[in-house]
């Protein structure tokens, strides 16, 4: 290495060293724990604890609204539930803080589950309004159930938690809250790099991709709601002991909006978003006092400006500034990701292909009959093409095989299993992979992470193991990352594994989708127009790829307009026309069939040629 390159390379080496980040975090953690010793003021200590409590709520909200994309306007009300349960149990019933806080957490989690119930089948904006209505109801009940909540006068004299017969002092409460914040942050970070993070983002950015990857929307959404509410309920318990008095006025609709502003300001769906947003609000305390009367206006203007100009908030702005700084210092914009640690390339074992048997399939959309009693058999392990003019029902057929649509009549058997009526996720878990006409990737994740999503259902590490990043979760993650890179290499994307999926060209996004389907080890792969818009060389590579997929034993059903490709790779072709089977057989026989030529080319030129 020559002398001149050392400074630049040196800068990159420093920046790329994983210890840089670890050291920074360690310094931050030490600073947090030392804070009560150097605060020298009860007020500062009080504010510090309050930051910690708000941060807990913001992290819970970021999980639900940021990562999972379900904007909640009731986190103020959930905070109220946690706080009131703790306050009532300790003051009116003499409980100790610890069981009271646990019960408060559980009841808040239950409330989260309740409002989640209708959210499974409706859009995100419905959910936002349902949460708004829920917050209004909770606000009303705090006053209505005066016998329990003491109505407007609130609960007074909430005691500090105590341990070993000693009541906590302010510094100890700060340490307790800080420890819970840090633990929560670490668990959140672990969850987000594991399968849950990918699943949550899939729920937010592309539910269809999530379902096709075998993710049960109901279970994952419920999980996000319950965890988010439980964390907020725990924050409520600390809120109560810190304030010592709580009244309904502490939990107005503005409080829910405040937390939403905090999360959007910090960076919604970013790991550090909640922390940055919370701290930013306390750095400008004037906002909370002298401009009180204009608070809603300020919230509104800040939210609107962020949505328009900085949708990723402070965390997004800092990340892009950091990338620019790295480039200025001569390093690559992003640090090179750690090499996959699993030894060698994973061996891809052959699978037993799945046979498809469709009988009398009928599907109407309003007055249009998309499929009119279609019957079709696909042999196990074969490559079978479905061709036909636009609107002939090809994609509808694929959508019914993988359960996106339910047929009006007829049966679909995969091997010997009837799948009509099963959920998309359930069918995917049987071993059915799928790609889409317009690729459905998660644009903010890398190609590798997108591919890993396809293995969601196959991962075995439990929630706790993932949250604590236990050895099994770690091993599974490493093995999966290696597999994802292997399959991306297999489809020809070996060089771009760490690029964001949204930055890949269209043709390569299709290939990444194939890798995502393959990592789930499908026995049946459904490809919807994989060749659309590919160049001639890319087309040859695709043909070779599909052949090597078939060599693994996988049954491939391909919907395709490119007849040369079809003739090249398929043994069987089914031609659909206006929802019925027009012809089937080998490519040579089918493409020579006059009825097929007429349907494809239009009847008139053929008739003219004949005359």
């Amino acid at each position: 290495m020559s002398d001149r390159t050392i400074p630049r390379g040196g800068a990159a080496r420093v920046l790329d060293n994983p210890w840089l980040g670890r050291t920074a975090i360690l310094v931050l953690a030490v600073a947090i724990y030392v804070f009560p010793l150097i605060a020298h003021s009860d007020y500062r200590l009080y504010l510090g604890t309050q930051v910690g409590i708000y941060l807990l709520v913001a992290m819970g909200l970021n999980l639900l609204s940021g990562y999972t994309g379900q904007p909640s306007l009731c986190h103020g009300a959930l905070l109220a539930i946690g706080a009131y349960v703790t306050a009532i149990a300790t003051v009116d019933h003499g409980w100790s803080f610890w069981p009271a806080a646990l019960v408060g957490m559980a009841i808040t989690a239950g409330a989260g589950a309740l409002i989640a119930l209708p959210a499974f089948r409706v859009s995100a904006w419905y959910f936002a309004l349902i949460t708004l209505a829920f917050a209004e109801v909770v606000g009303g009940m705090l006053i209505e159930w005066g016998g329990l909540t003491h109505s407007f006068s609130g609960v007074v004299g909430i005691p500090m938690p105590s341990a070993f017969g000693q009541s906590f002092n302010a510094a100890q409460l700060f340490w307790l809250v800080a420890t819970i914040d840090i633990a929560c942050f670490i668990m959140m970070a672990n969850m987000m790099r594991g399968r849950f993070g990918r699943g949550f983002i899939a729920l937010r950015d592309n539910e269809i991709a999530a379902r096709a990857s075998g993710i049960s929307l109901v279970r994952l959404k419920m999980f996000a709601f319950v965890v988010s509410a439980a964390v907020t309920g725990l924050a409520g318990a600390f809120y109560a002991v810190q304030k010592t008095v709580i009244t309904p006025d502490d939990f107005t609709a503005d409080v829910s909006i405040f937390f939403l502003v905090v999360v959007v300001l910090g960076g919604s769906g970013r790991l550090w978003g909640a922390a940055l947003g919370t701290v930013a609000f306390f750095v400008v305390p004037e906002l909370l006092t002298s401009l009180q009367a204009w608070r809603l206006l300020i919230y509104g203007v800040v939210l609107l400006a962020l949505m328009l100009f900085a949708p990723h908030g402070l965390a997004g702005a800092i990340a892009s500034a950091w990338r620019s700084l790295r480039v200025a210092l001569g390093a690559s914009p992003r640090p090179p990701p750690p090499l996959a640690t699993a030894p060698g390339a994973p061996t891809v074992q052959k699978v037993r292909g799945m046979a498809v048997s469709i009988a009398g399939l009928l599907k109407r959309f309003g007055g249009v009959t998309a499929l009119d009693r279609v019957s079709l058999k696909v042999e196990a392990g074969s490559v079978h093409a479905i061709v036909g003019p636009n609107g002939s029902g090809k994609t509808t057929l694929l959508n019914m095989i993988c359960g996106f649509f339910r047929p009006d009549e007829g049966s679909i058997r995969l091997d010997d299993v009837e799948v009509v009526g099963r959920s998309t996720a359930g069918i995917a878990r049987l071993g059915v992979g799928r790609t889409f006409q317009t690729p459905k990737l998660l644009p903010e994740l890398t190609a590798t992470e997108n591919a890993m999503l396809g293995a969601f259902a196959a991962e075995r590490a439990s929630t706790i193991e993932v949250a604590l990043w236990a050895p099994r979760a770690r091993r599974e993650h490493a093995a999966l990352a290696a597999q994802a890179e292997h399959f991306l290499g297999f489809v020809g994307l070996g060089e771009r594994v760490h690029e964001q999926a949204g930055e890949l060209p269209h043709g390569q996004q299709r290939l990444a989708e194939i890798a995502r389907a393959l990592i789930g080890r499908p026995r049946l792969l459904l490809l919807d127009e994989p060749a659309a818009g590919l160049s001639l060389t890319e087309l040859d590579k695709l043909g070779a790829l599909i052949r090597s997929i078939a060599d693994l034993g996988v049954t491939v059903v391909i919907v395709e307009h490119h007849l040369e490709l079809v003739a090249d790779i398929c043994r069987h072709v089914t031609v659909l026309d206006r929802g019925t089977v027009l012809a089937e057989g080998t490519p040579d026989a089918v493409f020579a069939d006059p009825a097929v030529i007429a349907a494809y080319m239009g009847a008139r030129p053929l008739a003219e040629a004949a005359s």
């Binding site: 904007p71 089948r121 904006w125 209004e136 206006l297 919230y299 949708p311």
Partner: protein
């Protein structure tokens, strides 16, 4: 049981239906559910009340409120909706940006008009003086409100069967395809916001003799209007009317059987139960999936 809950419930329900129709006017062509709608209704009530206090006749006050609030909604489209929808038509960023716009209106109106509710008289010859008919206490304004709302909604539904109405539906179905057919979605969005805002103002002024004009109305009306729209099936105006009446009656019944504090809880439970059974509402069309 007190029979008064029937006219009271139907009158309140008619208002909820009107707000829901305002949502629908906006939602149909844009697929945006305006979180500022409650505040637009409230703003309409305040402007109408002030115009009448200044001596303007009811009709003029109504027109002034409708035009002004229509323009405020047009501004909302320009600053809070069009920019985020342009960036990504599938994202839900408009939830937060329209919510932000509602906070701004809420705060500014609060400062301009102050917290005290303003009493608004109904247009002559109607009055809120009560009389008893068939054991129910009601007023001529209540009856006019119930009947007038039903007529207005039937009239709007007729519009959707005309050529312009079908253009609106076409854009909702597929923005790009509508563009190819010579329908300008941007222009249609602007018109929808203007009309949706104007309609919100009408609903606000109609509500004010019953509810009083107050800056506190915004969020509560947003929730009630949403509940009526969701139960009736979003986009379905006749559904909104029936749902509004159901909600109004449920609220009045819950309030009279338990206590007035349970009004919100009873409609919320009704909403949860109906959405659990029928996610698209009682009269909603199944939405085509985009696979």
């Amino acid at each position: 049981m007190d029979l008064d809950i029937i006219p009271n419930g139907l009158a309140a329900g008619s208002l909820y239906a009107l707000i829901a129709v305002g949502f629908n006017i906006l939602y149909r062509p844009t697929n945006v559910f305006n979180f500022a709608q409650g505040d637009l209704v409230m703003l309409g009530a305040m402007i109408g009340a002030s115009a009448m206090a200044a001596g303007a006749p009811w009709v003029i006050a109504l027109a002034a409120a409708a035009v002004f609030v229509g323009l405020i909604a047009l501004l909302e489209n320009a600053v809070a909706v069009a920019p985020v929808v342009r960036r990504s038509s599938v994202s839900h960023a408009w939830i937060i940006s329209t919510l932000a716009y509602s906070l701004i209106i809420d705060n500014l109106v609060g400062h301009a008009w102050g917290p005290d509710p303003i009493r608004v008289d109904p247009p002559a010859p109607l009055s809120t003086t009560t009389f008893t008919v068939a054991g129910m206490r009601t007023s001529s304004y209540q009856i006019a409100l119930i009947v007038g709302t039903a007529l207005m909604i039937l009239l709007i539904e007729r519009f959707y069967r005309t050529r312009s109405g079908k253009a609106v539906m076409a854009v909702a179905e597929d923005r790009d395809a509508a563009l190819l057919r010579g329908i300008d979605p941007g222009r249609l969005s602007r018109w929808s916001f203007f009309l949706g805002g104007g309609f919100a103002a009408v609903a606000g002024l109609l509500a004010s003799p019953v509810l009083y004009a107050s800056t506190q109305l915004g969020p509560a009306l947003l929730i009630k209007g949403f509940e009526a729209a969701a139960i009736g099936g979003v986009g379905n105006n006749r559904g909104a009317l029936v749902a509004g009446w159901i909600l109004g009656l449920a609220e009045a019944l819950g309030g009279s059987l338990l206590s007035p504090g349970y009004q919100q809880a009873s409609t919320f439970v009704l909403l949860l139960v109906i959405l659990l059974i029928q996610p698209r509402g009682l009269f909603g069309q199944p939405e085509a999936r985009n696979v």
